[in-house]
């Protein structure tokens, strides 16, 4: 039977640093998915996921076992992504410019996958809507869990998810209908 996250955390707290690799293996892909879809940049996503793990390691003494380790570290990552987005407003402006530029220089000979379209559409969503829709549909969390992670109220979150879905549909469906 697989050792629970809580048991691994106990080992790490007792001084077995290498046991932390188990937690990294278990949660890295999920965190990477969130960070990549949230930030839109692979290098930055990797950096933020690293930061989240290092911060989690440093804060293990404060981790309460009644909470799932996965939810706890996801909350750390969500906060890291928020800070990064807030700090790098200029980067966002550059990304928006890049999206417009890409649209203007679009080469119809180059195949665009649905995945590319989705990434671009996610990049155009405001950060709070993107965060809500990713936690709801990529991480498949319930609204109560999302509320615990983001600090937003459940009705506000439902509204964000609804708006995000509407915008994604508006951005993605016309392009698909036109093919």
């Amino acid at each position: 039977m697989q050792e629970s996250d809580a048991a691994v955390v106990r080992r790490v707290r007792a001084g077995d640093v290498e046991a932390f690799a188990l937690l990294v293996d278990r949660h890295h892909a999920r965190l990477a998915r969130y960070a990549l879809r949230m930030m839109g940049d692979r290098g930055e996503a990797e950096e933020l996921v690293q930061d989240a793990f290092v911060r989690a390691y440093g804060a293990l003494a404060r981790y309460k076992e009644r909470e799932q380790f996965g939810a706890w570290i996801l909350r750390i990552l969500v906060n890291r992504c928020r800070s990064s987005l807030a700090r790098e407003a200029r980067r966002l402006a550059a990304a928006a410019a890049w999206i417009h530029e890409t649209a203007a220089t679009f080469d119809p000979a180059e195949p665009i996958t649905q995945r590319d379209e989705l990434s671009a559409a996610l990049g155009r969503l405001p950060a709070d809507l993107r965060e809500a829709v990713l936690l709801r549909y990529a991480d498949e969390l319930g609204y109560e869990e999302i509320s615990a992670i983001t600090g937003a109220g459940i009705s506000a979150l439902k509204m964000r998810v609804k708006r995000a879905c509407e915008r994604l549909r508006a951005m993605l469906e016309p392009t698909r209908a036109g093919r």
């Binding site: 892909a29 879809r37 990797e46 709801r136 549909y137 498949e140 879905c165 549909r169």
Partner: protein, 132 residues
């Protein structure tokens, strides 16, 4: 409010859930940083008596700047090329050996530097060292 499930197709939801794997190297890099953090934690003693972590950090930062500047002056600005953080720490402790203020065990700090494999900062001749 209508259920948002109906607003996003199954296809799109599947794409959102698609796993992202940054590869084993990315996971290895996480562990490299975690080991460095663990070594640093082991090297820096907890606040004892009147010595607080912030004071300790300020003392260390100041002493590093001094050691980098003095090392650079001795080598004429060229000798720091390829110098590792461990080397800089060694210079710092050697220079401070007569004083009372190195409060961290030199061996432990050098061990941290070896784990991180950091190169020491190379101050630009004539320009003050800056850290962001």
């Amino acid at each position: 409010m209508p259920d948002a499930e109906s607003l996003l197709s199954r296809e799109l939801r599947a794409l959102l859930r698609e796993p992202v794997d940054l590869g084993p190297a990315a996971r290895a890099r996480v562990m490299q940083r975690v080991r460095a953090a663990a070594a640093l934690r082991a090297a820096v003693p907890r606040a004892r008596g009147a010595v607080r972590a912030t004071v300790l950090g300020a003392l260390l930062a100041a002493s590093f700047v001094v050691s980098i500047v003095t090392a650079n002056a001795r080598s004429g600005g060229n000798g720091t090329h390829g110098r590792t953080l461990a080397d800089t720490i060694a210079v710092h402790f050697a220079a401070a050996s007569d004083a009372d203020w190195p409060v961290i065990a030199r061996e432990k700090l050098v061990a941290v530097a070896d784990v991180t494999h950091d190169l020491a900062p190379k101050p630009h001749p004539g320009a003050p060292a800056r850290r962001n």
